[in-house]
Every structure is written in structure tokens, then in C-alpha cells.
Point group: C2
Chain length 246, copies 2
């Protein structure tokens, strides 16, 4: 076993009970827990003796570089990400920055991303083919996001939208809905979930037309159905197709 | 608490260590473990005293009906799905069949689906916007699958392909690649993972051109990059976009 190791750990939506056993074992094995302060706070009570290293938001790359240098120095680092480390997480940037650093072993430990944990709250909106799209244009040109929304609507995918809004980005969800409405019915069933897996989880179903006027914050994940998605006893369900066979 | 309850439990890719604490707690709470025999076998050693109920493949709806009747009779049922219960799992069909059955509480417990667990094996192929598409035409017309593949390629999404092949369906992956090649570069980086999280996990990177000739079986998940996806130290990495900001 190589002792110079970084685990990229997906914590799932929040509470420790939503982590996998493998993720917990990675934290147990680590010398240092590293991440955005909120994520480190979620687990540090369980590992009171571990060293921690946090950097504020927007300093992700600095954190990656620190993790690589710390692992090179002989420590095992658990790099914490909310949800899954491989979905808008830090697995990609860290692997890119560690290119050619042969002495450090990097292991990605998957977790339950918000598309899955939010879907479970709403019912089963992603039962069939689906797309995951982030509405944040911090790292992606808005034209790329628009193009993908348009293609997703034309393919009649269900969608999970990450980063649908924030204090600064108040119009992105409305603009996204307008693009989707070019190809999707205004009555398409949608849903949102806020604070998934944390205190104060909240959710609601609504139509795509109504979603235009919904004010999403950065703790919200938005779900948009395909043309067969329907409400069943208050849940959002995309049929898988068994009803066509029987 | 309502005692008439069905947990729809996503087991993750296989080994118990890949389940969440919440999923384990649901199995612990259940009187009966119900599912496809392979899934029940994965966990029954840990719960030797639980009643089990299995039905073979293609009898999923019968299993759902049994679970609903068993819960109505006052037992708590854990309905096991591999990966996540809400991604090509049984959450949708069960919620549909339980429509109007007010006496039974249904709770979806999310798990790590193969898109996430397979991505972790390969590196970080789904770091940016992505689509999940099943190539099985058992429940979906092939024309719908073709249309979605075409839209996914036009939107330059990364893709995770479920059910890329089986003994009977040997040509689906090749046909899918041919559609993707209408809009994607033949050199697009792809990968496959077999037996994720189980004994004999295997994986490889290859180009979209090479993927045409790959023979996938039903234990394989296939990943297709977007136009920026690249190999870094043997891993498949889709950049998130930080490099455009720095």
C-alpha cells in the first residue's frame, strides 16, 4: 500500500447516516480532513482527533494544491466534497493538478449526489433517461448551458438542475425555463428540493410554467419531468415503461 | 410512525460497505427483505433472521404487488434495488402500483448508482453536465433511445450508458456509437467499467471509434466524454472549467 494517498470523498447530502461505509472508512484512515468549512463541520464531531484544513469558497484550487503537497509529505488526506466528488465536485480539478505526481495515490470514493437524494425526496423523477445540468455560469459560458438545455428538452429527458440560483444569480432559472418551454409543455411536472438531507428539508411539486417564477437559492435542486412524468399521491414519478408491456 | 411501510432501498454497486448508513438502517428496520435474488444474497448474511422474498428477473411487477400486500398486512418491507432505487430501479413502478393505497408509507432511500460508482473507478468523467441513457429497448422504443443519443451528442454532454449490451443485445452499443459519431469526434475519450464494486472489477479507457467494437455485457457501464474530456495519468477526466478562470 502506498501511504501517500488522497481520498476524494463524496459525503452525500449532509448527515453522516447518508455517507457510505466506504466513505466513513476513508475518513477514518485519513490523517487530515480537508474541504470547504461546512463539509468539514458535518463530520468533525465524529473524528475529533483528526487534523483539519479548510479554505473558503472560491479557493478550491488552493485547497487541491495543499492536499497534494500534504500527501507528498507522507500524510493521508481525505478531501471532502458534498454529494459525489465526481459530479461538480473536486475529483476533476484535483486529478488535473496532480498530473504527473507519481508518488501520490488518488482514490475517488463515490457518494449520493443531489440528483439522487433530491429525487428520493420527490418520489422517482429520474426513473428514465435524464440529464444533469448546472445553471452556474461561473465556470461555463451561458451559451453552453443554453445549448444543453435546448438539447435536453428536444430529447425529452428528465432533468436535474444544480445551482439553479443564488443571491447574485436570480434570473438563471427563469431563463432556463424559457428555453425548456420552447420544446416542453408548460404543464410538464417539475419539483424542487431544498436542504436535502439536512435540517429543514423542504420540497414542492409545480408545473414548468410555475417554475419560471420560483426563486431558487443555492441550497436547492430542481427537477423537471419528461412528457410522461406525473404526480401520484403527491409524488413526482417518471414511468419506466412497464405499463407499455402489460 | 406508520408501521405499514415499504423502504425502496438503493444498495449501491454491491458490497455492503458501499451502502449508506440510512440504507443499512432501513434493512435493519424491515421485517422482510424483498428483491431480485442476487441483491438479497448481497445482504442476507448480515441479516440472517430476516424473512426474504425473491422473484426472478422479468417478474418485477409481481414483486411490487407482493410488497404492497405484505406492507398492508402490517409488515415493514425493504425492497432492494442495485445502485439507486430511483434510477432504472423499482421506485417508479412501485409508486405507480401503490397509487391510492393510503395505508402504506413508501420511503425511497437513495444509493450510489453505477454512473457514480463507475465514474469513480475511471477518474472523473462526469465532472460537468452529463446524460444517463439506457440502451435497453425492452421497455423503451429504440427510436426514443436514438433520439436521446443524438440530442446528447449535439449538446456535447458526457454520457453514462446503462445496459449497453447483453447476450441477446449485441449490436446496441455499436449502433449507439454510430449515432454519437455523427456529432462527436471519433477520438472522444470513453471508458467502460465491469463488475463495479464487486469481485473482478475491470475497466479500460478507449476512443469512441474503438468503443464501436467493444462487446459489453450486462455487468458493464459505459462512459463517453465530452469534447474536453482527456486522459490524465490513466484516468478519464472531464474538466470542470477552472482552467478557463486561472
Amino acid at each position: 500500500m502506498n501511504e501517500k494517498r488522497i481520498y476524494l470523498v463524496g459525503l452525500g447530502p449532509g448527515e453522516v447516516s447518508q455517507m457510505t461505509g466506504q466513505a466513513l472508512a476513508a475518513l477514518e484512515d485519513a490523517d487530515v480532513l480537508c474541504g470547504y468549512p461546512v463539509y468539514v463541520d458535518l463530520v468533525k464531531d465524529r473524528f475529533p482527533d483528526k487534523q483539519t484544513y479548510t479554505t473558503p469558497m472560491r479557493q478550491e484550487l488552493e485547497r487541491c494544491r495543499w492536499a497534494i503537497e500534504t500527501a507528498r509529505s507522507g500524510k493521508t488526506v481525505a478531501f471532502l466534497c458534498s454529494g459525489d466528488a465526481g459530479v461538480y465536485g473536486m475529483a476533476g480539478p484535483l486529478l488535473q493538478l496532480a498530473e504527473g505526481v507519481e508518488a501520490v495515490e488518488i482514490e475517488v470514493v463515490p457518494g449520493v449526489t443531489a440528483a439522487l437524494s433530491g429525487a428520493a425526496v420527490l418520489g422517482a423523477p429520474l426513473m428514465h433517461d435524464f440529464c444533469v445540468i448546472s445553471l452556474s455560469d461561473l465556470l461555463t459560458p451561458w451559451e453552453t448551458i443554453e445549448k444543453r438545455l435546448r438539447c435536453a428538452a428536444q430529447g425529452d429527458f428528465s432533468l436535474a438542475l444544480y445551482n439553479p440560483g443564488s443571491k447574485k444569480r436570480t434570473e438563471h432559472l427563469r431563463r432556463a425555463c424559457d428555453i425548456l418551454l420552447e420544446d416542453k409543455d408548460p404543464a410538464t411536472l417539475c419539483g424542487w428540493v431544498r436542504n436535502i438531507g439536512r435540517e429543514g428539508t423542504d420540497h414542492a411539486l409545480l408545473t414548468l410554467e410555475q417554475l419560471r417564477d420560483f426563486r431558487a437559492d443555492m441550497f436547492t435542486t430542481v427537477f423537471i419531468g419528461n412528457r410522461t412524468t406525473k404526480a401520484i399521491d403527491g409524488r413526482m414519478v417518471t414511468p419506466r415503461g412497464y405499463e407499455n408491456k402489460t
